[in-house]
């Protein structure tokens, strides 16, 4: 079963829920941190990285010896990633590739009539694979850990997320820590999940962004439920919204200074306060039940 943990708004405790649930389930889960822009789960899970792989996207490289500046490549590129200036009066033309805008679709190299375009790999990030023993008990077992990191200055996280998700092992319980927001990186991380946990807080900001996240999940047709974090800081509007929309509330976690403290030091809650394990196990059971009843 693939469970993704997401939130419209950042900072609601998405990583906290994902990490602590992963550490409370028996039998060796696979943990994927798909927030490639700001990966945080490793801070809590302290994985031992065994393998690291660069992520590349193919971008065009022009052989100016062959190029006739015909402009066909510029014409087919939907992202304005190529500029071509035709030569006039015996002067050579010129051609420029803006690799930051390139999505690596391959159209230009296919259509160049002169065979002047070769695709070369451009590194945009990396994926690391390892295992975490942040909390080893006889039942929790060995956790496989995978995350990715977008390079500084790169704009597009989805190719890194796709690379992380290639490691999904569907025979295991897979937990995906998704990026915040409602646009392409989130969609890339969540699609294909069996269930999604939306983490929110009961404030106007939290609710505003929860409503957007719910729209994303409905569009993707992924079943979901809500976890209300810092459930005592705010108002009742989130509860009312969930009730009126028939959205199950799977868990409530009140604000506690000691939880915030553990978080700030990069310690999982269930490691410092093992009594919380049963709450996170209940969360997992609630997900299984919801999933089963669909």
């Amino acid at each position: 079963m693939i469970i993704s943990v997401a939130s419209g708004k950042g900072g609601t405790g998405k990583t906290t829920i994902a990490v602590n649930m992963a550490l409370s389930i028996d039998g060796g889960v696979q943990f994927l941190d798909c927030d490639a822009e700001e990966p945080n789960a490793h801070i809590f899970l302290k994985p031992v990285i065994k393998q690291s792989k660069k992520v590349f996207i193919p971008v065009p490289e022009i052989d100016e010896k062959k190029c006739t500046y015909c402009g066909r490549c510029r014409q087919v590129c939907a992202y304005n990633a190529i500029a071509v200036i035709k030569g006039t009066g015996g002067k050579r033309g010129s051609i420029l590739v803006f690799s930051n805008l390139c999505h690596g679709c391959g159209s230009c190299s296919y259509f160049c009539p002169e065979g002047a375009i070769k695709e070369v790999n451009k590194e945009i990030g990396e994926v690391e694979i390892g295992s975490s023993t942040a909390l080893t008990t006889s039942t929790v077992g060995f956790m496989q850990f995978i995350h990715g990191r977008l390079n500084i200055g790169e704009a597009m996280a989805p190719p890194v997320i796709r690379q992380i998700k290639k490691y999904i092992n569907p025979t295991r319980t897979v937990i995906i820590d998704a990026p915040p927001g409602t646009s392409c990186p989130v969609v890339e991380a969540i699609k294909g999940s069996d269930f999604c946990v939306l983490v929110t807080e009961p404030t106007p900001f939290g609710l505003n962004d929860l409503v957007l996240a719910v729209e994303v999940l409905r569009k993707l047709a992924v079943p979901f439920g809500v976890v209300i974090n810092r459930s005592d800081l705010g108002n009742k509007k989130t509860d009312e919204y969930c009730e009126s929309e028939n959205i199950p509330i799977l868990m409530r976690l009140p604000f506690k200074k000691e939880i915030a403290m553990a978080y700030s030091k990069g310690e999982p809650i269930v490691k410092v306060f093992p009594e919380y394990r049963k709450d996170f196990r209940q969360l997992f059971d609630a997900i299984k039940e919801k999933k089963g009843s669909l």
């Binding site: 700001e38 945080n40 801070i43 939907a78 409602t182 392409c184 569009k219 030091k265």
Partner: protein, 286 residues
């Protein structure tokens, strides 16, 4: 005119609360909300929408079933797995590159323009604001951010404003990069946690990469004093100005619940500290 952006790397550190407060404090300004895929600033500023525009950007492939000869060439060239086995388009995966439409021998694939959001010019009790709403699960948030920035800047020029105050996006990808261009100072709001520092460091890396100067605000700094100290040392080591430190203060949540900025809400230690931070920032930019 000075343009400042409030960013955080990590979400939920209080970026929008600080933006709202600065909006209340600055004189003669224009606000812009560039957190286009989860915009929250309007909850504090209650904009009265004066102008509403469609945001058209990007295209999506559509296959005409009647014309399709089921050759499968489109699926073979698509690198985004956007063509399903039954030769229909997975609209969510399609990135609009149009490769399939060029290659289809039957001319069965058309590219349709997306209406991927809306943007607005509004009036608020603190002055004009430009904001936007990206459609659900849409792409091109970077382009929408650039559009909001451009409109805000033009509006500020028309009105002779002294400040453009921008609420940035979380993360380090395209919307953040777009919200940094032409900025005089990026205010990075962080919290005293390992994740907060880790993410602030990455987003500061992005700002430096694009040559934008930064300052840091540590929000809820009393939640972990030793982490706050680490952040202060980080500022010193990297030559980044510490603009302010703000207490964890429940009245900030209360003000938000009441749709007010922290400045308009009575009392609270955080309020005084935010005012202090604004003064430091003003001096820095003189």
């Amino acid at each position: 005119m000075k343009q400042i952006v409030i960013i955080s790397g990590k979400g939920g550190t209080g970026k929008t609360v600080i933006t709202g407060a600065f909006a209340a404090l600055a004189e003669n300004k224009v606000m812009a909300d560039c957190d286009v895929d989860a915009a929250d600033l309007h909850l504090l500023l209650q904009p009265d929408i004066k102008e509403r525009h469609e945001f058209r950007s990007g295209k999506t492939a559509v296959i005409d079933k009647e014309k399709c000869i089921k050759c499968g060439k489109c699926a073979a060239v698509c690198r985004f797995n956007a063509i399903n086995n039954d030769l229909t388009i997975d609209r969510v995966s399609c990135e609009g590159c149009a490769f399939c439409s060029f290659i289809c021998p039957a001319g069965a694939i058309k590219m349709e323009e997306n209406v991927s959001g809306e943007w607005f010019i509004s009036e608020t009790r603190f002055g004009p604001m430009v904001h936007a709403k990206l459609g659900i699960a849409e792409e091109n948030s970077g382009k929408l951010v650039s559009l909001v920035r451009k409109q805000a800047k033009e509006l500020a020029e028309r009105r002779n404003a002294d400040w453009v105050i921008v609420d940035g996006a979380p993360g380090i990808g395209c919307p953040v990069i777009a919200s940094l261009s032409g900025i005089d100072c990026a205010v990075v709001v962080t919290e005293p946690t390992l994740s907060g520092l880790h993410d602030a460091n990455r987003v500061i890396g992005v700002a430096k990469h694009f040559g934008v100067s930064c300052g840091i605000i540590v929000n809820k700094y009393d939640l972990n004093m030793s982490m706050t100290e680490r952040i202060e040392n980080y500022c010193k080591d990297n030559n980044i100005g510490l603009i302010g430190k703000i207490h964890f203060d429940k009245s900030v949540v209360e003000s938000m619940v009441n749709g007010k900025t922290a400045i308009e809400y009575p009392a609270g230690i955080a309020k005084e500290e935010i005012i202090g931070a604004w003064q430091v920032l003003q001096k820095k930019l003189k």
